[in-house]
Symmetry: C2
DNA sequence: AATTAGCACTGTAATCATGTGAGTGCTAAT
DNA sequence: ATTAGCACTCACATGATTACAGTGCTAATT
């Protein structure tokens, strides 16, 4: 009221910050007396009370009930996070463990992501999330064919740096030569195309080129389509869900159930997350923070999501995130997510082995 | 006391069964009066009480506290399950959905397993588990090499019906010819061998054979080792963990936390489970049931685990299981697991597609 | 001898009354 | 502008009282 509408006086900032710090520590509403005593605020409790009342009016604080202390509102947290300048620095131990863990020879992006996620969860004691983005517009750069036995060929697709394989089974025995010819045709006609560009005319043209082996074209193209459309549907994983249960804010069974259900609806989640972060992925290398209602998913609206995408050679190859109560140790988590993603990027760059690797198990 | 030690009189059986049925339905301790009225037992409550007292002495029932009804002990459940003859039959709806769901073009064992698991969880409303066994003794049948660019080769390994790929990066540019030569050497020397058989002498021999390209041998062999040791480390997945929260027996936060933690220690879990079921996998095609303390993991000792392995051409390719409170709808779950695994086996057999194949026909 | 009716007994859970204490808002004093 | 002081509010803990479901046992009944 004496202050400008949006500008907080230094004293208000001090008090607000102290309140949030305190609340992050113990999770309980904090009162004026406590602040004065424990947090060394050089004013009397009455003064602090007045300030608190104003901060509440301004929307930075909330009061669970009349005779309780104040807790930060989402807006309060947002202010706090935005004003975080003195970022937490990881301890030597943490750094060491991080390096150690990530160093253990791991080459596939998937695996690295996974262990980074586990590490993140362990070190922060919140739930961690690893997201592998849905890859759009898959173009096959090159095809190879390998004859596995009489009737089955293995189609090998080179997509950027990653390799996908697919078995093709034919009723009729297939010669070595057919495979070679098919590879030639594929490389000539089917490279650099999206699934939509596989048109009927193209198919027929290819069949013509295959001569007596034309019967191979249809199943092969089908296989290709399946592969490139399902390719890297994106993945999302969680680790340390149980850790959330350490925090009283997740003690509500109903809520908890919903949250768990959410975590299991990976597809939906992935879609929502990708859509939203699709924008931000291209943004820049900052750690992103969603507090409470800012979250994309309503169920998470009293949680905070902190994450950052990982790029390799400019393209996003994944993201690591942390989910926890809005009352979260922001400094630590932000620092952690930041270092972790940087660490992963480094490893990727260093080994300079690119994403993907074998598509894995069949 | 009038009865033979281990043989239950018909009346006792009747009562025990009724008690368990009732308890499964509503989860609460059941009393004598309730049995008489609701479950149509043709004796007075007093008689039933006497029988119940004896059943408790014999270990089939337990009493939470003096003035409560009885609940079945693990031994009680075991008796119940063993005596289940009239197995539940799935409803038409359930069968339909099951078929529908499994039919949707899915070819890889992984994917099928996964959707079977999800289905299982949905239909039973318990937590479902899918387990892919750790594959022992991986032998590479054949190697191919593909030149991706100047400095990187892709090593293609054929292991049975499945294909694995691995990028090999060299500092020095590699010619097409080097790749071909390497493939020859590998196929000659490194097929059908376990990682332990890759000895130093063998390595040196191969290097000799490679002549000027000997520098490739070490990294490639390393790559192979990595692949075949990490290959199919086995996997375990869960679905519908949140469903457990519907049951009051999981309302204890501490316990719940432990359980969730357990579910996330997939490696340990997999090991324990594989060891134990390794025995049983070779056993036979029965649904297996672990009640309470019988469980391999102490934390699960008031839950029941019901599962069955899935084979294809004789070898176990996975398992589907259900985890729930000991008070579980055994009939339904057993039937469900049974049908589901059978369904999956059929699909596998039918396509007769070995793991990881596109479906050969339309 | 087996069954049942009847009753005293027991332990849980729900309800209510009460007291306690932390924390506030406001007014008056500094 | 700050602070001391005080009345007020509300959640929470405590304890007492009651209601109730279910048992075990004894005595009556078949």
């Amino acid at each position: 009221m004496h202050e400008d509408n949006n500008i907080l006086s230094e004293r208000k900032k001090l008090i607000l910050k102290a309140i949030i710090d305190a609340h992050i520590e113990n999770g309980e509403p904090v009162g004026s007396k406590f602040l004065m005593q424990t947090k060394q605020i050089a004013y009397s409790s009455a003064t602090i009370r007045n300030e608190m009342a104003e901060l509440e009016d301004m929307g930075y604080l909330e009061q669970p009930h009349t005779s309780a202390g104040r807790i930060p509102s989402e807006m309060g947290y947002r202010f706090y996070v935005n004003s975080l300048v003195d970022r937490y620095n990881l301890t030597q131990n943490e750094i060491a463990e991080l390096k150690q863990m990530l160093k253990v020879k791991q080459v596939e992006v998937d695996t690295i992501l996974q262990s980074a996620m586990q590490l993140a969860s362990r070190l922060t004691n919140y739930t961690a999330m690893a997201l592998k983005p849905r890859q759009m517009r898959i173009l096959v750069d090159r095809y190879e064919l390998m004859r596995l036995d009489e009737c089955t060929l293995v189609l090998i697709m080179v997509i950027g740096q990653t390799i996908k394989t697919k078995h093709i089974r034919s009723q009729i025995p297939v010669t070595q030569e057919a495979g070679i010819r098919l590879a030639v045709v594929l490389n000539e006609k089917a490279t650099g195309k999206t699934a939509e560009e596989f048109t009927m005319p193209l198919l027929m043209e290819m069949e013509a080129m295959m001569g007596e082996y034309e019967f191979l074209v249809a199943p092969v193209m089908k296989g290709i389509c399946e592969t490139i459309t399902s390719f890297d549907g994106g993945e999302i994983r969680f680790d340390g869900i149980n850790r959330l249960l350490s925090y009283p804010e997740y003690y509500d069974m109903e809520r908890l159930k919903e949250l768990l259900a959410l975590f299991e609806r990976k597809d939906d989640l992935l879609r929502i997350l990708s859509e939203e972060t699709g924008v931000n992925m291209s943004a820049d290398e900052k750690v992103q923070i969603y507090i409470g209602r800012e979250n994309l998913v309503k169920i998470m609206d009293n949680s905070t999501l902190i994450f950052k995408t990982i790029r390799h050679q400019g393209i996003p190859v994944g993201a690591i995130g942390i989910i926890g109560p809005t009352r979260m140790d922001y400094k630590r988590v932000i620092a952690m997510v930041d270092s972790l993603t940087k660490g992963v990027s480094n490893i990727l760059a260093e080994g300079d082995i690119t994403p993907g690797l074998p598509d894995g198990n069949k």
